[in-house]
Subunit: 517 residues, 2 copies
Amino acid sequence: MPMKKDTAGWIKTVTLAPPSLQDNTADADRLKKTLESRLNTDCVEIDFPLLKNLPDRLRECNYSIRCILFKDNKRWLLAGITAANDSTPVAGLAVDLGTTRVVVRIIDLSTGTIKAESSFDNPQITIGPDILARIHFADKDNGSDKLKELIINGLNGEIAMLCNETSIRPDQIYLLAVAGNTAMTHLFLGLNPRWIIREPYIPVTNTPGIVKAEELGIKVNPFARTFIFPNVGSYFGGDLIAGILYSGLNKMKDTAIMVDVGTNAEVVLGNENWLIACAGAAGPALEGGVTQMGMMAAPGVIDRISIDPQTHEFDIHTIAEKPPRGICGSGLIDLACHLFLSGMIDIRGKFKKSACKHLLKEIDEIRHLVIVPEEKSATGKALTISQVDLDSLIRSKAAMYTILETITSSVGVSLSDLSKFYVAGTFGSFIKPKSAISIGMIPDLPIDRYEAIGNSSLGGATMILQSSKYMDRIDKIRDKITYLELNVNQEFMNRFSAAKFLPHTDTSLFPSVVDQI
Amino acid sequence: MPMKKDTAGWIKTVTLAPPSLQDNTADADRLKKTLESRLNTDCVEIDFPLLKNLPDRLRECNYSIRCILFKDNKRWLLAGITAANDSTPVAGLAVDLGTTRVVVRIIDLSTGTIKAESSFDNPQITIGPDILARIHFADKDNGSDKLKELIINGLNGEIAMLCNETSIRPDQIYLLAVAGNTAMTHLFLGLNPRWIIREPYIPVTNTPGIVKAEELGIKVNPFARTFIFPNVGSYFGGDLIAGILYSGLNKMKDTAIMVDVGTNAEVVLGNENWLIACAGAAGPALEGGVTQMGMMAAPGVIDRISIDPQTHEFDIHTIAEKPPRGICGSGLIDLACHLFLSGMIDIRGKFKKSACKHLLKEIDEIRHLVIVPEEKSATGKALTISQVDLDSLIRSKAAMYTILETITSSVGVSLSDLSKFYVAGTFGSFIKPKSAISIGMIPDLPIDRYEAIGNSSLGGATMILQSSKYMDRIDKIRDKITYLELNVNQEFMNRFSAAKFLPHTDTSLFPSVVDQI
């Protein structure tokens, strides 16, 4: 029968020379030798429990078998064997281990195709929504074990559900790739991250490598192996390594940048020769967490706004086109952009009474602008944005721009030289670059240099399962990264102050915005 | 405090540079790096479960720790850590996994000293005294598991007992080295050896390498590692590899030989450049299993006999000097030697009536020689040796000599050129070389070339724990061995026929014997 093409490289179909009196090599050694010659390596490891059924399996299959392999930097590890003509799917599971949300994908290892994807709230949220609360909890009696149990149980439930929906059984999952930040990686492995948050911020391990899924309690094939993306340090986790892999930054000739926008802005700048990374608080305003009407993206949430420069009329778009009930981060950026372009706020982000007119109200001595009047709102109350909200957004966007300026100038690269500007993360996908440029949050590059790449952490984890060639890149990426500690020094503060204007004190940095004002 | 000198090389006391903001390497990576630099390697592996307590342990000990390591051919494996100033012993366990008897030794890993030794009957004997019965049993439902359970439980009991007798706790045992024949190795690992006894005789694995003790169910330190000596093939097991290591054959300039005498004679010939091995049935007579009065060495068993050439009086020595109740293999060889030298048997090994006189009786038409009259025997019956017993002994000794001639001539070495003749095994230790030479069982070499080395398999397993330098030799020995299949062809039969005389048809081969006749 025709064999499926093995595009990923994790599956090798081999036929061993059958044993004879002239060649009575032991079964396991025979398989090892054949695989080593096929893979051009001197180190294939057969896990001890796999030996048990190996002889019968080999004879049943006439020595023609399909081997599922994984690889760390030095060794190829056998994770399972089936008959060569067994056409049942052999699957992998990519996991983006988010603090808030966990996303999983089932990948067909013989084709690299994504078969299914789903996500679930990180069950550790019951312990604490933020990672710090969990780190403190982990430090109590059996805290790490409890947190590990929560996430593993959650994952097992999701695997069972996802498998149920597809034609794949959990025991057909042989390889897993898991990307998370450093703390989440620890909590996933049952390691106490207490030293991560205490000076000098030391993880238990940055290189967990490949661990048996069974050892972690993951209910997939009993011989399955789990690759855990390495961390660079406490602040720079495997999720970002996966993200870099996914963006391809590490293979680019020209210098590019990747930004994961969230409460924390994580930034990687570099090319095929070097990578520099930093992270800094960009403020929760960007995730819609601060404004009174701010919320996560959901039906009825305003995600796009434009304002007629003449009439100052709002043109509002909501997710799923439901009656408006709040605004998300990308909507807020859109709003700020159009308030500025229509002259309703000044370059400091302050409401202009002359332009805002009757839409401006004073509540508790703070100015509010009505975006949706109560009669059109889904909540029955007017949706407003306050001066405080706007000030917070402006600090956030200024922080973001300052971080971008700081990291680029640290290596003598100009923002305008960036060949690509990757925006990673779910939130990032919703931002309209034009709006973000208008408020001076991101540099005034030609729009086509911006690219939203979505969940880059999940993307990187997926790649690892889609092709064996990517595994070698992981350590190279890790070894290449220089981590830039952001010092909030005078230079940083000067840049920050200059960036607190719309779009910037130095308008020459934003020629395309100046054209619109 | 003064540290114990680490003579074995498995214990490394290291002090890590404490973490700082300038060097925030993760704990596990810091330890790995330090050990890699200390061991001059690029591969130290820290087992995942060891990570859990690593950070607290490092801090408690101020980053000064004692590491217990093991090594396979490519990697150093961390098997445990303690505080650097922890003076509790760190122990290893050497195991000679015999089909009949299992011998264990506790070794202090910091000094290489043997702390205790004991032995127990292989509990698999309840399934079958011989290995073949066990191999068939293993092939039935859960047979391998049951056999594995028997040996592991037996070993656990012995470890508990031995630890109880010494000041060592089972959890202070971190490293194990196990040497057994190929079938026993399989039965120890729970692997079904069914294909070992079926053409073309294929083991499941010849290279089990290092397996976690916990995975095998051995109750020692939970992180302990077990090294299992590799096999060359079905007929040549890890016990012999351990034996070669112990004899040092593989490091000798001049060609030497090692013979493990038993039901099966296992022979290795070689030097630092090459090794050739063979095994052949030498007959159970040599182990005292055939003669009517034959038995294993025990109190009251005749182990030495001499006969006055003039008076033909027997001078009998028994083990523990108890009244005689049987004869063991070495006693039998002594007996045959002296019967021959005193002219009581002829060169074919037949009783000479004229010399044996009244001691000769006919029972069931077979001639018997009374060695101990009934009034002196512990059993109340006369201890006799029959013509059948003697014929059997002569076939055994002829087989042994033929095997020795065959293996040496296969590489063009003369028996007289052997620089050393190592006799391995408990049985071998009891044989008097002079007696064995006299009957032509072993070649007529100067007596000082013979050396009884005792339990060489246990000796090799002990060496692995006593010094890390020996581990690298194992694979070299294994790779160097050529296995010589003994073909019972015309040449073999010719040699065998010539060796069935006392000492040999060609008396010029035994000048020292000729002198005595």
